[in-house]
């Protein structure tokens, strides 16, 4: 069936955004990523009105939900294009994540996510402490794709702001819970309090949005306990 792919486009950070529709002949069970790949593979791409169009820029990696590259807004909701499906409505609307600096079309610069983790000194300075009971939560903490979906929905996060957002809190858990060096753990804990705990408005918007299905709010509460109350 024909499905209209409506894309918010912008050639550069400075240029004006515009909307462009494309016709995609596929199945409702195709992923958004499948549609974007098909459109970009055409040797001459034309929009729904028949006008020539440049290939659509978007970040793409594994196309299997394991790398987080293709996060974008699909019908207004942040998700991975490779895990979002076109559905039966006959159209889908694609926009770049709005919280990060735009690069081009659906590509944004999510570098702030990684810079924040560095600022929080999230690493182990000693051998990881073992605790088999915490395996599953630590595993979940390490499963974060750093895609940015939880930051997109967060009312407290902005790329230029001082609040780290849920991705950093989820990552902090495995390091706070495994760090054997008390001084470094305290250092991480202080940074955590400053740029996460004090800024989180507990809207819990991040709970249901994670495309990797990570229990985000549980990890946050565990990180809070470790950083603020020194309880693992």
């Amino acid at each position: 069936m024909n499905i209209v792919i409506r894309v918010k486009r912008q050639r550069s950070p400075e240029s004006a955004p515009f909307w462009q529709d494309f016709n995609y002949d596929g199945s409702p069970s195709d992923s958004v990523a499948a549609a974007l790949r098909e459109l970009d593979a055409r040797t001459s791409l034309t929009d729904a009105k028949g006008a020539p169009a440049e290939p659509i820029a978007w970040d793409c990696g594994c196309c299997a939900g394991r790398c987080g590259a293709c996060a974008m807004l699909v019908n207004g909701r942040p998700t991975l294009a490779c895990k979002a499906f076109l559905g039966k409505s006959g159209s889908v609307v694609l926009e770049p994540l709005s919280k990060f600096p735009l690069v081009r079309d659906l590509v944004v610069d999510r570098g702030v996510i990684f810079e924040t983790l560095k600022k929080m000194h999230l690493w182990l300075s000693e051998r990881a402490r073992e605790d088999e009971r915490l395996h599953d939560l630590r595993y979940q903490s390490a499963a974060c794709l750093m895609c940015g979906c939880c930051l997109e929905v967060c009312p407290n996060f902005s790329a230029g702001g001082s609040f780290a957002g849920a991705a950093a809190a989820a990552a902090a858990y495995r390091l706070l819970s495994q760090e054997g060096d008390a001084a470094h753990r305290a250092d991480e804990g202080k940074a955590y309090q400053r740029i996460f705990y004090s800024g989180c408005g507990t809207s819990l918007a991040c709970e249901q949005i994670c495309p990797a299905g990570i229990p985000v709010t549980e990890l946050i509460s565990r990180s809070n306990a470790a950083a603020v109350w020194r309880r693992l």
Binding site: S12, S29, D30, S31, A33, A34, R37, E38, A41, T43, D59, C60, G61, C62, C63, A64, G65, R66, C67, G68, A69, C82, K83, F85, V103, R104, V107, D109, R110, G111, F114, L117, K118, H121, L122, W123, L124, S125, R127, A128, E132, H135, R138, Y139, A142, A143, C144, L145, M146, R174, L175, Q178, G213
Partner: protein
């Protein structure tokens, strides 16, 4: 354009192309040994193909009372590689493997545990339980541990990341490499980075094929550029088809070998009855024969009808604690619950055993240029064992960095080579059509020669590398490991117990065969 080298600094600067597992291992080893690592990648490490590795990492930890040893791990690897791997190099790797896995554990990687020790699962081509794993996303969990460790080096200045930068070409001075030119993906200028060494950790050239389980970001362009510059490649005809994959939403998805390691059974229908063909034909290893053999058996069975992987008999706890990723993948992309229904599977392109030709210290044909991980890999021979790719990337990346730190020294003057002709989108489409038709599970001369004709005259380095793959596959007139020729179905040790080497001489491609490094104890 001439580029003058900056004044030599006290620290050796190692430029690493690719921030997946091999690149990260190289960067950490460089930083820990007093060097300065510059890590170039088109996307952050979190996006690298290494994160997709599912089943595990092999190491003879010998925690299951099976009398396992690194020597047996080396023998299994060598046997699966059909005699073409560098036995000395891979023995050193299997010897190091238990230490590597224990170090990952100490770095916080969340391996599944059995009591107080790291759990091990069965994997293809190995009789003993030797594969450490983190549920069914081992690559992701191992990557996270390395990324956490690298973050500290970044904060301390011993690793510098150039995120969203792509490799363009090498800086060359005579026969030696003195850095690389890279370009910012978000629209920046060409930047030249002088360095004492360059380590290629750019992954396999999956982009030369239309339909791979690998990452779409692994375009093969970096390898193609090096090939254009005349760098010799080796064993390009050996391309691994994973036995159990499926296609959905225009992408090939993997059903991890862990599914069979945990007891999954392959069957097809014969006269209406389930036929467990692997168990019947290969009573000893059954569903866990090496990937080349299993893929060929499934390929043959598919001519008669669908082939299924049955996980429905596995205990719920195994599905939940060890195969959750497999369940999620099937539910998301096939809308099929493998706990209730068998999974229809077929072989799919998965891994490149060959690549940049390197010796056991990871030196390539250009001085100061090294290669590690899937882009080179001389550890696997004609067919790779599951669980050895993460190991090869970690061990190889670190070893390449140690070699580079010990011997590399940048040449006094370097220059950029003449730029490559671009590969047009239409040419890339043709390449992918040809590789699909010619370099599948079963190959033959006529199809490959026709494919070469179609590639003739296509401009750009990607078609050139594709031609090298075809020429290598044509030259090997035998069947061995992942390379199966219907016109030469037998193994021919007299002529071909040798590694193929291929290089570009302008637009000409030359293939030779070189004797395998002497295999002691094999």
């Amino acid at each position: 354009m001439a580029v003058t080298a900056v004044a030599k600094m006290a620290k050796k600067r190692i430029l690493i192309i690719g921030a997946g597992l091999a690149g990260l291992a190289a960067a950490l080893e460089t930083a820990q040994n007093g060097g300065e690592a510059v890590l170039v990648s088109t996307q952050p490490s979190e996006r690298a193909q290494s994160n997709m590795a599912e089943g595990g990492i092999n190491a003879a930890l010998n925690t299951k009372g099976e009398d396992d040893s690194p020597a047996q791990h080396a023998q299994d690897t060598f046997r699966a590689g059909c005699g073409l791997a560098d036995y000395g190099a891979l023995s050193a790797m299997t010897e190091a493997a238990p230490g590597i896995v224990r170090r990952l554990y100490a770095m916080g990687a969340q391996f599944n545990m059995a009591g107080s020790d790291i759990d091990l699962r069965s994997f293809g081509g190995q009789k003993k339980k030797r594969t450490a794993f983190a549920q069914s996303s081992t690559g992701k969990q191992v990557m996270t541990a390395l990324i956490d460790a690298a973050r500290r080096c970044e904060a301390e200045g011993s690793i510098t990341r150039l995120a969203h930068h792509e490799f363009v070409t090498l800086l060359l001075g005579g026969d030696a490499c003195g850095g690389a030119a890279v370009r910012e993906r978000f629209g920046g200028p060409l930047v030249t980075i002088p360095s004492d060494a360059v380590i290629m950790a750019c992954g396999g050239p999956h982009g030369l094929f239309p339909d791979s389980t690998g990452s779409l970001a692994n375009t093969g362009e970096a390898a193609a550029e090096l090939f254009r510059l005349g760098l010799p490649f080796a064993d390009l005809e050996f391309i691994q088809y994973h036995p159990t994959t499926f296609s959905a939403s225009g992408k090939r998805h993997l059903v991890s070998e862990a599914a069979r390691g945990e007891g999954g059974r392959l069957f097809c229908l014969r006269e209406g009855q389930k036929w467990y063909f692997m168990e019947e034909k290969y009573p000893e290893l059954g569903n866990l024969m090496p990937r080349d053999i299993t893929a060929r058996e499934i390929f043959a069975a598919l001519r008669e009808g669908p082939v299924f992987l049955d996980l429905t008999e596995l205990p719920a706890a195994v599905m939940e604690r060890k195969l959750r990723g497999v369940v999620d993948t099937c539910l998301t992309y096939m809308r099929l619950d493998p706990r209730c229904e068998p999974i229809p599977v077929e072989p799919g392109l998965h891994y490149f055993m060959g690549g940049i030709r390197a010796d056991s210290a990871h030196c390539t044909g250009i001085t100061n240029l090294y290669a590690a991980g899937e882009c080179c890999s001389f550890y696997h021979g004609a067919n790779r064992l599951g669980g050895n790719s993460l190991l090869g990337a970690l061990y190889g990346g670190a070893l390449a960095a140690r070699t580079a730190l010990a011997e590399a020294e940048r040449p006094a003057n370097t220059a950029l080579p003449a730029p490559a002709e671009p590969t047009s989108p239409a040419a890339l489409q043709t390449v992918r059509t040809v590789t699909r038709a010619c370099l599948g599970v079963v190959r033959d001369r006529t199809t490959m020669e026709n494919g070469l004709d179609r590639l003739d005259g296509l401009a750009g380095s990607v078609p050139l590398l594709a031609r090298a793959m075809l020429k290598s596959a044509l030259a090997r007139e035998e069947s061995r490991g992942a390379h199966y020729r219907s016109d030469f179905p037998d193994r021919d040790d007299a002529r071909f117990r040798a590694n193929s080497a291929v290089y570009a001489d302008g637009t000409e491609i030359r293939v030779t065969f070189e004797p395998v490094k002497e295999a002691q104890n094999a």
